[in-house]
Amino acid sequence: MTDTNGSTAAQSAVKDAAPGPDKPVVELRGAGKSYGNIRALHGVNLTVHPSRVTCVLGDNGAGKSTLIKIISGLHQHTEGEFLVDGEAVRFTTPREALDAGIATVYQDLATVPLMPVWRNFFLGSEMTKGPWPVRRLDIEKMKKTADEELRNMGIVLDDLDQPIGTLSGGQRQCVAIARAVYFGARVLILDEPTAALGVKQSGVVLKYIAAARDRGLGVIFITHNPHHAYMVGDHFSVLRLGTMELSAARDQVSLEELTNHMAGGTELAALKHELAQVRGVDVEELPEEEDLTAPVATPKDGAA
């Protein structure tokens, strides 16, 4: 908390630890989480390796956010084990996860609406200068850094002093992502980062994920979009009602299979049948059941 730049300190800590590329940074073994009597997650295994992207997919309410909140220190697991660098840990605050080099983009973005953009960017990891009694914020440096990081994402803001609440949903999402990318030293967790983004910004986020992977970070990428997942993922985990339905490496699963796991072809066919009951919906143009189980798209044109 006393160092002027959280990410540099965390990065130097990484070099000391120097885990081999095959040793997982973060690992969940049979982990689960109950909210009172709601069992949101049960018996989940997940490993995050350096230089690998682990995609977590699943329906709404499947437990994806619960899963990453355990890793980011917002919630504690109630069963199983959570290991960082092979050692069992239990983060009681997100601060501990951040100090371990784990940065997260939350689904609800975790911004403070009335605070300026640059203050939000550095919140919790402020840059300071000067000796203790007069140690103060390095406002100039923070503004400059925030501006650069946002421009790199293709977001140009005229006034970094405007409250973040005045930005559009997608712009706010970009600030949250840029912040996590900037502070994530070892593991980057993104919970549906492309949900509100345009095509261009989605592309930038995917590039960021790939760039983070090449820098040696382990990435957990949560999304509803199998095309996005398949473009950057090395490993795919599909959650269903709180348990792991599928966990496969990239060479063990094709995009078609992944798509079917997420929204099974039979379920889509049933949906088409239901829509046919609703007057005014033209189902003639919708694909047939056999089309739905056939390849939907190739990875290359999937971004659109």
């Binding site: 980011s72 917002l74 605050t93 997100p94 601060r95 951040l98 997260t104 939350y106 609800d108 973005l109 975790a110 911004t111 403070v112 609406p113 009335l114 605070m115 203050r119 550095f122 919140l123 919790g124 990891s125 402020e126 300071t128 140690r135 103060r136 914020l137 406002i139 501006d147 650069e148 421009r151 790199n152 994402m153 293709g154 140009v156 803001l157 005229d158 006034d159 405007q162 409250p163 609440g165 005045t166 912040r179 930038v204 995917l206 590039k207 960021y208 790939a210 760039a211 992977r213 090449d214 398949y230 473009m231 950057v232 990239r250 060479d251 990875p299 290359k300």
Partner: protein, 357 residues
Amino acid sequence: MTQATAPAASSSPPAPPATQKDGRTAQRSLGRRLLARPEVGALIAAIGVYVFFFAAAPSFREAGSLATVLYQASVMGIMALPVALLMIGGEFDLSAGVAVTTSALTAAILSFQLTMNVWTGVFVALVVSLAVGAFNGWLLIKTGLPSFLVTLGSFLILQGSNLAVTKIFTGNVASDSIADMDGFDQAKSVFASEVSIGGVDFKVTIFYWLVFAGIATWLLLRTKFGNWIFAVGGNKDSARAVGVPVNLTKIALFMGVGAGAWFVGMHLLFSFNTVQSNEGVGNEFLYIIAAVIGGCLLTGGYGSAIGPVIGAFIFGMVNQGIVYANWNPDWFKAFLGVMLLLAALVNLWVRQQATRR
């Protein structure tokens, strides 16, 4: 199968030239940017009130009157500062008014009963005041109850203890005078002296008040802790998620109110040599009113330290102005109520201007 995006990964996205602008936001006019400051509404009101009493009450124009107004404002304003910071941090402290009396009583009774140097009492009072603040914060965090409820409890506890403990030791509602005890004169010169400028005596609290306001402003706008204050008041859960020590920040803010109560308590004790144990009730609302008139948002996350200074100044002007204008002082509360409503409306309008693009 190879990575589809492998080529894209090696080159990081190019940064557009630094001069590139969004281009849609017209530069906001200076007037509008000034209006976006939380304390501007209060400043306009303060000028209005000043002009009003300047015209209505001739004796209000004298320098001596200004010293009295400033003194009134400072005693209240010193407490309004930590209360405002706490409010920006999203919490209330209803025990702030009686906490002042508790602090003064602690120092007075302890020094008198043990016949010690008054500085011992002053020091113990500081510890007690900080402990009361820490207790409020700790209880808030442990129970998750709203601060309104938690501090209403401590308000009643302190109010009752003030009366009961004083009666046990003195058999009276007031503490014994400590005027002839060791160290009294020294402590009086620190907490309750006067400074003469151009033949007019200004109480030393006025200068403390302005210095504290400067420190609070610096803390709020230029330090990490200030950033955390805005964050825990604006959105506690988000602040926690990005690593802000929310509990520590809140406890520190409550302890800040304790420190303010101690300082004002010491001033009152060394001004009057004795303390009335039933004093302070209701003052907690005056502090909150000063903060709200000064542009602090009741729901937290927005405000300044200069705002409550102006709020307290308005309070002082109204309080004394009514006397100088030879009106019935009973009108004071009614006037204050009108000021509060007007301030709330101005704040609302200012904030709408601020968030409008």
